[in-house]
């Protein structure tokens, strides 16, 4: 089937099914139609097609609003991690239900004391007979309220240096020892959750990768996270955003030369990033892997988001001080992009280290046993 035909068929299918409101029903049909896990191995329930088909479907799908949000972490991060690093039995058990929307996944890495420095996390998994028992707290977890499974990074060895004492697990989120609490953010709403583990058991067959080798598994997951962000998943798009040039020109007096020039500045920055993203996408299509350069795009998006929220409120003036408006929400949500998926400082470090090949900072945390390390907030 050539790509034009593939695209045409995808559009036809989407036209026919976009009206389905129930996420699970939609996801099941999407899978049955062959549009979920397009590049994933056929052996485990994927379609076994190429990046070309995936990109073609994504392009077509951009014109539709689909109820996929609650599956996004599983599809973008957890599933690919299981495909890459799980064993065959795990792939058999987890991939098809994930792709069909029968089981929802969330990702459990960040902790209150371990944000930018995820590897310093303190949640413990301790050997208990054949399996493990988990205690601790995770935070900033998207979709945990829906989740059946959590991809959990936990500390299994405090005598080893911090990167060498972590192990990756899949944890049953329905276990009574798991408490999911909504976490209100600056917008006043709860887009994320806090998770508490109180003696939650995990069978050893749900361990992903070797004991104490969880960091290398997590690196795989984070790589997929960055790819899915730079591919535009979760970017939300600009539709309905009250801080774009398009929205602001309707609201402001554009005969004011100052307003005009500020909108030109916003247009400049928006276009510069848009074209950079386009170029990265064209490179990816051409088989050039963007690697850490995607972190530059993520950094620029975070900066642009803060810039435009600030600019829009300044231009709008006193009305911007009202709450409960789309502008107030966008303003309050703006820091999310700069804080989630690696802060701006972390991104600049990645670009400096991996794109420009600059020498590393001297590290004080790579060789010390974890139990002797300065971690979290010192009181």
């Amino acid at each position: 089937m050539d790509l034009a035909e593939y695209r045409r068929a995808a559009r036809e299918w989407l036209d026919a099914n976009v009206a389905i409101e129930d996420p699970h029903e939609f996801m099941a049909k999407l899978y049955d139609a062959g549009y979920s896990g397009i590049t994933w191995p056929a052996a485990w329930g994927g379609q076994g097609l190429t990046q070309a088909e995936e990109a073609a479907f994504a392009e077509v799908a951009r014109d539709y609003t689909l109820p996929l949000q609650r599956f996004s972490i599983g599809l973008g991060m957890c599933g690919p991690t299981v495909v890459d690093r799980g064993d065959d039995e795990q792939r058999r058990r987890w991939i098809r239900p994930l792709l069909r929307g029968e089981e929802i996944w969330c990702q459990l890495f960040s902790e209150p004391g371990a944000g930018s420095d995820v590897a310093s996390l303190q949640t413990r998994a301790v050997r208990d007979g054949e399996g493990w028992v988990v205690n601790g707290q995770k935070v900033w977890t998207t979709n945990a309220q829906y989740a059946d499974w959590g991809l959990l990074l936990a500390r299994t060895n405090v005598d080893a240096p911090k990167h060498k004492g972590l192990t990756m697990f899949a944890v049953n989120m329905r276990h009574p020892g798991v408490t999911v609490r909504p976490l209100r953010d600056m917008t006043g709403r709860a887009h994320f959750n806090e998770i508490f583990f109180d003696d939650v058991p995990i069978p050893d067959t749900d361990r992903i990768g070797a004991v104490d080798d969880g960091w290398s598994v997590a690196v795989t997951t984070l790589l997929h996270e960055r790819l899915s962000i730079s591919a535009g998943v979760g970017m939300g798009g600009s539709k309905g955003n009250p801080t774009t040039v398009e929205a602001l020109r309707e609201r402001l007096d554009t005969t004011d030369p100052y307003v005009r020039d500020r909108l030109v500045e916003l247009h400049l920055r928006t276009q510069a990033l848009h074209l950079f993203n386009q170029r990265l996408a064209q490179e990816t299509k051409a088989g050039i892997f963007p690697g850490a350069r995607g972190s530059a795009a993520k950094l620029l998006l975070a900066e642009l988001t803060m810039f435009q929220a600030d600019l829009a409120t300044s231009l709008v003036g006193p009305e911007a001080a009202l709450g409960d408006t789309p502008l107030a929400f966008t303003f309050s949500w703006a820091p999310a992009m700069a804080l989630g998926g690696g802060t701006n400082e972390i991104m600049r470090g990645i670009v400096g280290d991996r794109v420009l090949g600059l020498p590393p900072e001297p590290r004080v945390d790579k060789t010390v046993p974890f139990k002797e390390l300065k971690v979290g907030t010192q009181t």
Partner: protein, 333 residues
């Protein structure tokens, strides 16, 4: 020109700071009890009210010291609104209302398209700071200033949701509301310039408190086995924020001095204060939130309260570009 605080002003600062540290609860909203003590024990309500009307007859230098502290503590409620009204009324010189203000009553002031007939005022005020808490409002209608009792007839007011959770606004509709004429509305009163100075002083407090908070956190939060304040990127950003605070303080002291001692320099000083300090306050507050990492984005942490206050303050007296345009005008560019 005097840019330093004298000993009395430093004592005033210490007293207000101490009181607010113990009693300002930004999330709990307006507390009449706290305000009563602020006015009673510290005498803040009458600070710039002339002595003949029961006030302390202090100047803008003293008022700026107080505003900096109420800003730093994110004091909730209609404090700024009442100070704004006091500023307006000292310029107009209304004995009755000044006396009430010195007693601690809540009054506000607002701009809008109003019509007045000497005894009543009609029209709509879209966003009135402290509009729900105030008992009286000072407005301009036509060529005159009026005072309207907000608990009286012909007044309907409804609370507005605000970005800044510590400080309310209201929409007020006046329908032939009985009003007392206070005198002619003259630009020469220079009310706007003085509001700009007072607000800048609050903004200085907000940005200083935000910087202090993140500096303190950078000294106790670890990542990668080090305190985050030891990372050069964090340290240098904090140094730049400090530079903004130093410059903002210098401008606020200058503008307050001009309001007290050099009325000829006041228009430029006031525009400078809003254009520079308003912007710097938001920038510092926003960076302070981001440097906190995820915790700063949570509802339970106070970082967002500072960011929202900074933004609300920045647009309070109009879009910031108006202050810039005013500077161009005063420079006769």
């Amino acid at each position: 020109m005097n840019l330093l605080l004298n000993e009395e002003q430093q004592q005033l600062r210490a007293a207000v700071r101490g009181f607010l540290a113990a009693h300002s609860r930004p999330r709990e909203g307006y507390s009449p009890e706290v305000y009563a003590r602020l006015n009673g024990e510290l005498g803040l309500s009458g600070l710039i009210v002339p002595e003949e009307y029961g006030g302390a007859g202090a100047g803008y230098a003293e008022l700026a010291v107080v505003m900096e502290e109420t800003g730093a503590a994110l004091l909730p409620g209609p404090f700024l609104a009442t100070v704004f009204a006091t500023v307006a009324l000292t310029r107009i010189g209304d004995k009755e209302l000044l006396t009430r203000l010195a007693e601690g009553r809540v009054v506000t002031v607002a701009e809008g398209e109003l019509s007045g007939d000497g005894a009543s005022v009609s029209g709509e005020l879209a966003q009135v700071l402290g509009g729900m808490e105030a008992e009286t409002i000072v407005v301009r209608a036509g060529a005159a200033m009026y005072a309207v009792e907000l608990t009286g007839p012909g007044v309907s007011r409804s609370p507005l949701e605000t970005l800044d959770l510590t400080r309310g606004q209201a929409r007020i509709v006046l329908d032939a509301a009985p009003a007392r004429e206070l005198g002619p509305a003259r630009a020469a009163l220079g009310i706007g310039d003085r509001l700009a100075v007072v607000l800048a002083a609050e903004q200085l407090g907000v940005m200083r408190a935000a910087l202090d908070a993140i500096v303190a956190y950078a000294k106790i939060r670890a990542a990668f086995g080090r305190l985050v304040g030891s990372f050069q990127a964090v340290k240098h950003k904090l140094a730049e924020m400090h530079c903004k605070v130093e410059q903002a303080e210098s401008i606020v002291r200058y503008a307050a001095w001009a309001a007290d001692e050099a009325p000829g320099e006041l228009p430029m000083a006031a525009a400078l204060a809003q254009a520079y300090v308003g912007r710097a306050c938001y920038e510092v507050a926003a960076d302070h939130l981001l440097l906190h990492g995820g915790i700063g984005f949570t509802w339970e942490h106070d970082a967002h309260l500072y960011v929202k206050r900074a933004k609300a303050d920045e647009v309070l007296l109009g879009p910031p570009r108006e202050h810039r345009a005013r500077i161009a005008e005063l420079l006769e560019l």
